[in-house]
């Protein structure tokens, strides 16, 4: 069924497939030139490579050009300075030779700067390379002359002390000259003959010294001149010594002459350096022109070196080549894309034809013939045809399996029908059994209820027993308390009786005393009677009294005897009473003990009846739970019965469904039979 429906859908995407084909053609465009236009890719790649190379060269050349221009500018600056410094050196050397102290300082400064620049040009430093090329030779020549000049400057510097002293001497002589001359003139006029001669000699010597020193300063100097100066100075000193020292003019002269002498001494000591310095100064002024000329040449050489650099033109050339490469690249790319478009159209046409053929082959498959096979070609439809063939084969196997399964299903449904019939009978029997069981459970619940009511009655009886035992134990407690009271009273009574016994004892003692007294009275009475008898007639009255006394004594003795007997009896009775009391106390204690035991027993009875009550309560609760459970069981039985009836109904329905299933399997078989395998 599905195949009939899917067929129109299958044709519609045919046109859509052209769209997708076109896209695939676009993808093929990049693939096609791979076989035919490999050279184009290589060309583009080559052109791009050379483009990059030229661009790099141009950039490098521009960079180098810029750096060298910078260097040359700095070389020119430095060599200009060199020119200026050499001129200043010449001027300072001239001034220094005349003994100017400040010119020496300037000279030293200029020399150091000069030497520094030369070193920079020769060796270079961190930011500036050493001079090279054509300028190098000129520089070497300059270095020779410059070094000579520098060594001269060094020599001049070493003679500095001499030159400065010479200058100072000349200045001092010029300053004091007029005064000196006046003084010597005065001396010459005022002095005696001998002294006049000495004064003249002194004046001549000093004049000569002044002249010689001025000459030594202005012009060349030689060792001989300096020696002559020393001799003249010595002569002048000698003449000064010959002059009278007391003269104030002579003293003033000596004072003025003192610096002369000292300076001339220093000059003599410095004479070799002085001579060398003078000659060095001369050499400098002779040499400096050469140095100037060479410096000029060095500047020229740097300028010409700048003009001769090749990096500028190289950069321009490389730039032009880069532009050319770009033009060629554009041309190659345009040609290539044009060719690709043509090839894509051809391939599209071929693909359409192949698809038409595949559609024709597949139309038979739609009729239900699964034996049909599509042609497998090398074109784009080849893979599709192969896939369709594979699908058809799998479909054929599937339909065959469905047929076998439908057969098996028919067989199984028949068996299921029989089984469900058996099930139905079993379920009906089960329902009957469950109904009987439910009735039994109801009966059981009734009997449990009876047990429950008995248990409740038993609980009441137990409660009553408990109350009774409580009353009993209270009575026993009261009895015990009463017994205790009795015992105490008996003990009290016993104490009193004992005291009574003790009192009767005392009475007995007193009676004994009375008895003794009576006895004595008796004896007294007898004696009195005897005396009365012996008295004869006179004692007659007295004898009557004595007789009476005697008789009374006898009577009281009788009475005391009776009292003693009574007291004895009382004592015996009290003893008996005490013994009886003790016995009864013991009896009371025994009774209390027995009542205690009785109380204990009652307590136990109470405990037991409480336990009994709780047990009966437990039984009652259990029976209630049982009643509930029985009710639940009955309910559950009813539910089971209901469920069993539902199950019976379900089984019946299942039997019906199985019958329908049999029909359905027959239908399935019929529908699959349409396929040709």
């Amino acid at each position: 069924m599905a195949f009939k429906l899917s067929l129109p859908e299958f044709k519609l995407p045919g046109k859509k497939a052209e769209g997708t084909n076109r896209e695939s053609k676009g993808a093929a465009c990049s693939a096609l030139p791979v076989s035919g236009g490999l050279s184009v890719t290589r060309k583009i790649r080559l052109l791009s490579g050379s483009l990059v190379v030229f661009f790099t060269v141009a950039a490098a050349a521009a960079y180098i050009n810029s750096r060298e221009a910078d260097y040359t500018a700095r070389y020119l600056t430095q060599s200009g300075k060199l020119l200026m410094l050499s001129q200043r050196l010449a001027k300072d050397a001239q001034l220094s030779a005349l003994g100017d102290a400040s010119a020496f300082q300037a000279l030293v400064q200029s020399k150091e700067n000069f030497a520094g620049i030369l070193r920079l040009l020769d060796k270079g430093d961190g930011s500036l390379p050493a001079t090279g090329g054509a300028a190098r030779e000129v520089l070497n020549e300059l270095m020779v002359s410059a070094n000579r000049t520098l060594s001269d400057v060094q020599a001049l510097e070493e003679g500095r002390l001499g030159l400065v002293t010479l200058g100072a001497t000349v200045a001092g002589i010029e300053a004091t000259n007029a005064e000196f001359r006046n003084l010597t003139q005065g001396l010459i006029e005022s002095a005696s003959d001998a002294q006049k001669k000495q004064a003249i000699r002194f004046a001549l010597s000093t004049e000569r010294v002044a002249k010689d020193t001025a000459r030594a300063l202005a012009a060349d100097v030689s060792l001989e001149q300096l020696a002559a100066l020393g001799i003249e100075a010595a002569a002048a000193e000698e003449s000064l010594a010959a002059l009278p020292a007391a003269d104030p003019a002579v003293q003033r002269l000596a004072v003025l002459f003192e610096p002369y002498r000292n300076n001339i001494k220093i000059l003599n000591a410095q004479s070799p350096g002085l001579v060398k310095a003078k000659s060095a100064a001369k050499s400098i002024s002779g040499n400096i022109d050469l140095v100037l000329a060479k410096s000029q040449r060095l500047i020229d050489a740097y300028q010409s070196g700048m003009a001769a650099r090749i990096s500028g033109p190289v950069a321009v050339l490389a730039g032009m080549l880069v532009l050319l490469q770009l033009l060629v690249l554009a041309k190659v790319y345009l040609n290539d894309s044009h060719q690709r478009a043509e090839e894509a159209e051809n391939s599209n046409r071929r693909n359409q034809a192949a698809i038409q053929r595949l559609m024709n082959e597949l139309s038979e498959l739609a009729e239900g013939d699964l034996t049909v096979r599509a042609t497998v070609s090398e074109g784009i439809t080849g893979a599709i045809a192969d896939a369709v063939n594979y699908t058809t084969e799998e479909l054929r196997k599937l339909v065959a399996r469905i047929m076998v399964a439908a057969d098996q299903m028919g067989h199984a449904t028949r068996q299921a029908e029989q089984i469900s019939k058996g099930l139905l009978e079993a379920a009906q029997k089960q329902a009957g059994e469950i109904r009987k069981a439910g009735e039994s459970v109801q009966l059981m619940a009734g009997s449990i209820r009876e047990v429950d009511s008995s248990a409740i009655k038993a609980t009441e009886v137990g409660q009553r027993t408990l109350a009774a035992t409580e009353l009993g134990s209270r009575a026993v407690r009261n009895t015990i308390a009463g017994m205790d009271g009795i015992r105490e009273q008996i003990q009290e009574t016993s104490k009193r009786i004992k005291r009574l016994g003790e009192s009767s004892q005392e009475i007995g003692e007193i009676v004994d005393l009375i008895s003794d007294i009576t006895e004595l009275t008796n004896v007294l009475a007898l004696n009195a009677a005897i005396q009365a008898v012996s008295a004869g007639e006179a004692g007659r009255g007295f004898s009557v009294v004595a007789e009476e006394v005697q008789r009374l004594a006898e009577r009281s003795a009788e009475a005391t005897k009776q009292i003693g007997a009574l007291v004895k009896t009382i004592q015996g009775d009290t003893q008996d009473a005490i013994a009886a009391m003790e016995k009864s106390t013991l009896g009371v204690v025994e009774g209390a003990k027995l009542s205690d035991v009785a109380g204990q027993s009652l307590k136990e009875i109470e405990q037991v009846s409480k336990e009994l009550a709780s047990l009966i309560n437990g039984i009652s609760m259990s029976t209630q739970i049982q009643t509930d459970m029985a009710g639940k069981v009955a309910h559950a039985m009813r539910n089971i019965l209901q469920i069993t009836q539902q199950a019976t109904d379900g089984t019946r329905l299942t039997a019906n469904s199985v019958a329908q299933l049999t029909n359905l399997s027959a239908d399935l078989k019929g529908s699959v039979a349409g396929f040709k395998l």
Partner: protein, 164 residues
């Protein structure tokens, strides 16, 4: 104890009897004593006093019936147990034993120990009988009484010979 004495009556009775005694001149003169369970009558004129047995000073080497010497108000008396003397046992030694002092007119410092003194007895009205030369009396209650002849006793040599 109901027989209480009336003092006034007693006094009246006593005075009456004294007067009667004075008129009649009749006087009881015998004393009843008991020696070895036998009743004896003693003439009160032969006796100067009756007293309980005072402390005895035992005299050695004497007859068994001579018990010793006693001191009564500064006078010494020799005590003789009459029961022992009559060879009828011994005096009971109870508190009721009494010593009879022989009258001073006999000038004989002797004391006689008897079991007890029964009191004054008027034997004139009692019946008399002679048994073995001795006078016996019967009182109203039917008891027999012997007559103790103290003078005769004092004259007997075995009584006077006390040394053993």
């Amino acid at each position: 104890m109901s027989k209480r004495l009336n003092l006034r009556e007693f006094q009246q009775d006593l005075i009456d009897r004294m007067q009667a005694k004075g008129r009649a001149g009749d006087q009881i003169s015998t004393l009843g004593v008991q020696i070895a369970e036998q009743n004896w009558l003693v003439d009160m004129l032969d006796v100067s006093g009756v007293l309980p047995l005072p402390p005895l000073s035992v005299a050695p080497l004497t007859k068994p019936w001579f018990l010793g010497v006693i001191n009564v108000r500064g006078m010494l008396y020799g005590v003789s147990d009459l029961a022992a003397y009559q060879q009828k046992g011994k005096a009971s030694g109870a508190a009721a034993n009494r010593v009879l002092l022989v009258a001073e007119r006999h000038a004989f410092n002797a004391a006689l120990l008897v079991d007890r003194v029964l009191g004054l007895r008027n034997a004139r009205l009692w019946a008399q009988s002679e048994v073995d030369g001795q006078v016996q009396y019967h009182d109203e209650q039917g008891n027999f009484w012997h007559k103790l002849d103290i003078v005769g006793l004092l004259g007997r040599p075995d009584f006077l010979q006390i040394s053993a």
